[in-house]
Amino acid sequence: MELLNILFVAPFLDMADSPVFFAEVVITGLLTGIMYSLVALGFVLIFKASGVFNFAQGAMVLFAALTLVGLMERGVPIPLALVGTVLVMIALAMLIERMMLRHLVNQEGIILFMATIGLNFLLEGAGQIAWGSNVKVLDIGIPDQSFEVYGILLNQFDLFAAGTGAVLVTTLAVFFQKTTIGRALRAVADDHQAALSVGIPLKTIWVIVWSVSGIVALVAGIMWGAKSGVQFSLSLIALKALPVLILGGFTSVPGAIIGGLIIGVGEKIAEIYWGPAFGGAIEGWFAYMLALAFLMFRPQGLFGEKIIERV
């Protein structure tokens, strides 16, 4: 009875008790969710265009953030450092295509997945050798102050992150829908062979996709890095993005966004209202369980392409 009360009654009473606090929790959750989406977005882009489940996305976030901080520490002004980092990420994409993907065309998904885990180790090691492995502070001049709207406490930095996320997604959507390259990308995602036969250069497309997701990784790296410092643990947010990914569907950009929001809000609510009942620190697995529950009803994620199986 006690247990039932803790699990099914008390949390809802708490919520009804202070709606302002509940709203705050939801908003914090939404804002964290956007940060998750930023990381998940990089995964989706690469999976859509090349069918590679890129586990190294987390390492790319770390690598990009480290490069940016490293350049800034050497006295490069912020705009130049940003441009420099983008160039580094593009060079990295070219290198990955040239050295790795080109040789692994037509392999099974799991082989490609394992190769990206190898890449993950490589990038983590290389990034930390090049720029050092101590915790770095990333300050790009975003104000980090809290203010109140209708009694709800909001953080300026989180709002800025949300705005950046929105701009990024809109840009990507336009890029995918309206430009020639975007069309080519969608064609490749649809059918490799058909795309090749109408003259779309597969290798160039892969470089572009990996560059774009490198830039997305940079944005995610800036946001996470400015929040919690640039350090090794940054590459572990890939593990946070995975449930977002399966919840939203591997192939859907909107899925990554909505999935991120659901996971962000769900996680915060669960931690605050149900966490004490479980003894706390449930953030590590709650997202996975939530995603699993969703998958039971939609095995391809919320917005994933319907899986049609034929014999």
Binding site: G109, I110, G118, E124, I246, L295
Partner: protein, 358 residues
């Protein structure tokens, strides 16, 4: 010249169906076993046994288990570490509460408990496939470790939060705990590995293994020819988790001596997945070779700078180790995506025609 099956006639079905149909293979395996049982423990020193050979044997067992699930039944799992943790904690719990039970039986019981947990977390595989399933198995990984960390009951409310192997004997010989010698622990791990490998080899070439492979190749088609996906997939999860559970129990009781949940984190799962991919999916021998490779390479890389007399700080050498390890894996996957098992197969073909290829 030497590796040729010419003249080896099979006169009855039993001979035709044996595990190693070629006489040279049988000799090779027999020699390998003789070396493993009769030479290695008397030649190797304490460091070699403790740091290299025992972990290699235990990881091989886990890799064989994962290969049954991923290589034969086609279900990718990233929860290996958690299933190993279940085995380890179950053994600890049983043997500290009921010390009378023989430790070997406790290992097997814990394997059974790990199998039950495996079935539970294998249930989603009926609906979820491919990478969605792989990520879903991460739920098991994080949830189980969190549970073992949070609930004191699992580690007997030990204030340090670790589980420690108590001294246990078998036929009067100390096989676990701080006073057990490395040689004895090596033998325990080796006997477990050999026994379970023989079982695995026979499972995969029998009816069960064939139904796993049918499910792996196309589960809808398999269902149509009368293989029940529910039973087959859950069986694969159960057997695989059993192996992993026993390996986990061994890793605490005959190797590490004491462990926290961190010893079974997600990187262990990745490591074991690496072993079967590098070794070869769907190959028992490949799992063992892969385990040898993944266990040995980091040890070699850690010792390499000192070996060549290079003065490198530990921090830098750790990163270089990461780079080399990652690069090596990518390189191996590019050169031979099907792992050492395929290389071995190609080598055998070459050997058969040597020295006169036509």
């Amino acid at each position: 010249m030497f590796y040729r099956e010419t003249g080896q006639f099979k006169t009855n079905y039993q001979k035709d169906q044996q595990v190693f149909p070629i006489a040279q293979d049988r000799v090779f395996v027999a020699l390998l076993l003789i070396v493993a049982f009769g030479v290695v423990p008397f030649v190797a020193n304490e460091y070699w046994l403790q740091a290299i050979l025992i972990p290699f044997l235990i990881f091989s067992l886990a890799a064989v288990g994962l290969n049954l699930l991923t290589g034969y039944a086609g279900q990718v799992s990233l929860g290996t570490g958690a299933f190993m943790a279940v085995g380890a904690y179950a053994t600890y719990k049983i043997t500290t509460n009921i010390p009378e039970i023989n430790i070997i039986i406790v290992f097997l019981l814990s394997g059974g408990i790990a199998a039950l947990v495996g079935i539970l977390f294998g249930l989603p595989s009926l609906r979820i496939k491919g990478f969605y399933l792989a990520v879903a198995t991460l739920a098991a990984q994080f949830f189980i470790l969190w549970l073992f960390n949070k609930v004191g009951w699992f580690y007997n409310d030990n204030p340090s939060g670790t589980i420690t192997a108590p001294p246990r004997t078998l036929f009067g010989i100390m096989i676990s705990g701080p006073r057990a010698t490395a040689e004895v622990r090596y033998f325990v791990a080796l006997i477990f590995l050999v026994g379970f490998t023989i079982v695995a080899k026979n499972i995969v070439r029998g009816r069960i293994g064939r139904s796993w492979m049918a499910i792996r190749d196309m589960d809808i088609a398999a269902e149509i020819i009368g293989i029940e996906p529910l039973k087959t997939k859950l069986m694969a999860f159960a057997v695989s988790s059993f192996y992993c559970g026993v390996a986990g129990a061994l890793s605490v009781f005959v190797w590490l001596g004491s462990a926290e949940t961190e010893a079974f984190d997600i990187f262990l799962s990745f490591q074991i997945l690496f072993m079967i991919i590098i070794g070869g999916l769907g190959s028992i021998m490949g799992s063992i070779v892969g385990a040898a490779f993944i266990t040995l390479v980091p040890i070699f890389l850690t010792n390499a700078p000192a070996l060549f007399g290079l003065p490198i700080s530990t921090d830098l050498s750790k990163h270089i180790e990461e780079i080399v390890f990652g690069g090596l894996i990518v390189y191996l996957l590019i050169v031979e995506p099907h792992g050492f098992a395929r290389l071995w197969q190609i080598g055998k073909e070459k050997l058969r025609q040597w020295p006169f290829p036509y």
